[in-house]
Symmetry: C2
Subunit: 312 residues, 2 copies
């Protein structure tokens, strides 16, 4: 039996979902993989807050108390670039594998962090950073590693897709965004999602996995707004596309129009979908829930098991 | 630079595709993964046959000449159960990792072979055995490892799907099968595909990965034939489904009817598609080319890279 002590940074929506999932999956993972998972320490901002299902004795407000402790790996679920970046750098430097859902951090400092992980001979898992529970990173890194990837095209942002679906039903852009916010599919400030920037961050991560450190030759990002018009028989989707071109990679995020029979038109509400074009395999489709506490937690836990496999 | 010597068993459609793919991807793999792939020896039945792009000096008609040589891993592309089984057992016993596309062998002797691999501390890669280039095994073993899988539902046989699509267009069952045979989508004897047995073999492999060695409580296999009726607004698909039930797993292969708007109705011709339902992630979709020399070779090569990662 391999015993693994996990240090968790952050216990909000995603972190809390991870705690509950570890609890639920613990016995299956013990039986299946001969691995005993233990949450050793959890970083929170306010340790007095009620957190149903979370053992209060594990909580700490000191990040160093998590990172510098005797943990085998660190799960980062804080989000944001600044503090999260400091903590992840420190964990890697102390030779702890890190699993993260933090696309903003990877988009901003991925190259540096992957080099730090490699230098310290530890893993940096990031399945949860793109498309939530849809295992697109595993597909690219593992199942399709033998093929040359030509192109990746996808609906990578669930919020904007939800808004576009409501606009198809006749809602104005403003009302559609308000509806998404009411239901928790959009943040109070939805700019990152609607501007295409969130899609662009995820696209950079996918391109990096698929094409390696190829230089980005051109990147254009265009989001959605009130000017999206309804045209009978068609729908609009916010599409992110990365293409291999001579000597590098081109990235593009833009709204595109599809007829009803196009597979992208079938991607509804907050769902995500990705088409990966390989030279040998042709088009491979993946789709599913792109966000949410449960799918994201499942992706984090899958990455934890991947790291455990590498632990000696 | 890690140098890897590959012994290839079989140089037919899949094996030949593998040789060509290794040639094409060699420099990318060298640059990307710091791995130098070399085909060291290739088992063929008739070494005098013309094989464009295959170095004749590598050919041998002796399996032992491949397995017992100084190869780091063995790629099995013979097919069938008897000889392939003997060779794979011998390779594993000699502590060679094996990569195979052989679903029949895995369905017949998977448990024994996986135990042999584990006992000898080598890998047995089988991504290519199900859904060709669609990375469904990587998805289940890696990206979704953290979640409890409840159900797997899919179109796993491209031949029968091609036949059903032609029947939608008005062809009789017999004519549709003949068309599939003309175009190389069906064997001369298509019984394995049309009876549902091929789907059932693949389903057993998927169920084993998803649910572990859970006892199969019930398995029913029903294929397609001339009695598939066309009903306006609907299509028929040959569906393979594995479900977790109390104390085990239930398997079922049967033709099911779907309305046009159902995602399975959109799976055309020789394509494959799988829906994996996880307790945390919900429904995850994968789809693409389910067979063919190129996609299958790409899956074999991805598994080779996976094995190389484990080689010390």
């Amino acid at each position: 039996m391999k015993r693994v002590r996990i240090g968790l940074l952050g216990c909000g929506t995603v972190g809390g979902g991870f705690v509950r999932l570890v609890e639920r999956e613990r016995s299956r993972i013990r039986d299946r993989y001969n691995v005993e998972l233990n949450l050793a320490r959890i970083l929170v901002r306010d340790s007095s807050k009620e957190r149903p299902g979370v053992d209060r004795a594990l909580l700490t407000t000191s990040a160093l108390d998590v990172i510098d402790r005797d943990c085998d790996l660190i799960v980062e679920a804080i989000g944001g670039v600044h503090s999260a970046g400091t903590f992840v750098r420190r964990a890697l430097a102390r030779k702890r594998s890190v699993v993260t859902a933090n696309k903003a951090l990877l988009a901003a400092a991925g190259g540096e962090l992957f080099r730090a992980a490699s230098r310290n001979r530890v893993s940096l898992g990031f399945e949860a950073s793109v498309c939530g529970g849809v295992p697109v990173i595993a597909a690219l890194r593992r199942g399709l590693a033998g093929d040359t990837i030509e192109r990746i095209t996808g609906i990578l942002n669930g919020t904007s897709n939800y808004v576009l679906c409501r606009m198809e039903e006749g809602l104005s852009f403003t009302d559609a965004v308000a509806r998404a916010q009411e239901l928790g599919f959009a943040e109070r400030d939805a700019t990152l999602d609607l501007s295409g920037e969130d899609s662009a961050q995820k696209l950079r991560i996918l391109a990096n996995v698929a094409f390696g450190d190829g230089e980005v030759r051109k990147a254009s990002v265009c989001g959605i707004g009130g000017d999206v018009r309804h045209v009978r028989g068609t729908v609009v989707r916010l599409i992110a596309e990365a293409r291999r071109v001579a000597g590098g990679v081109e990235l593009c995020v833009e709204p595109r129009r599809f007829t009803y029979d196009h597979p992208f038109a079938r991607v509804r509400d907050e769902q995500n979908a990705v088409v990966i074009r390989g030279r040998a395999v042709g088009d491979v489709w993946l789709g599913g829930a792109g966000a949410g506490a449960s799918p994201t937690a499942a992706a984090l836990l899958s990455d934890v098991l991947e790291c455990v496999r590498d632990l000696t």
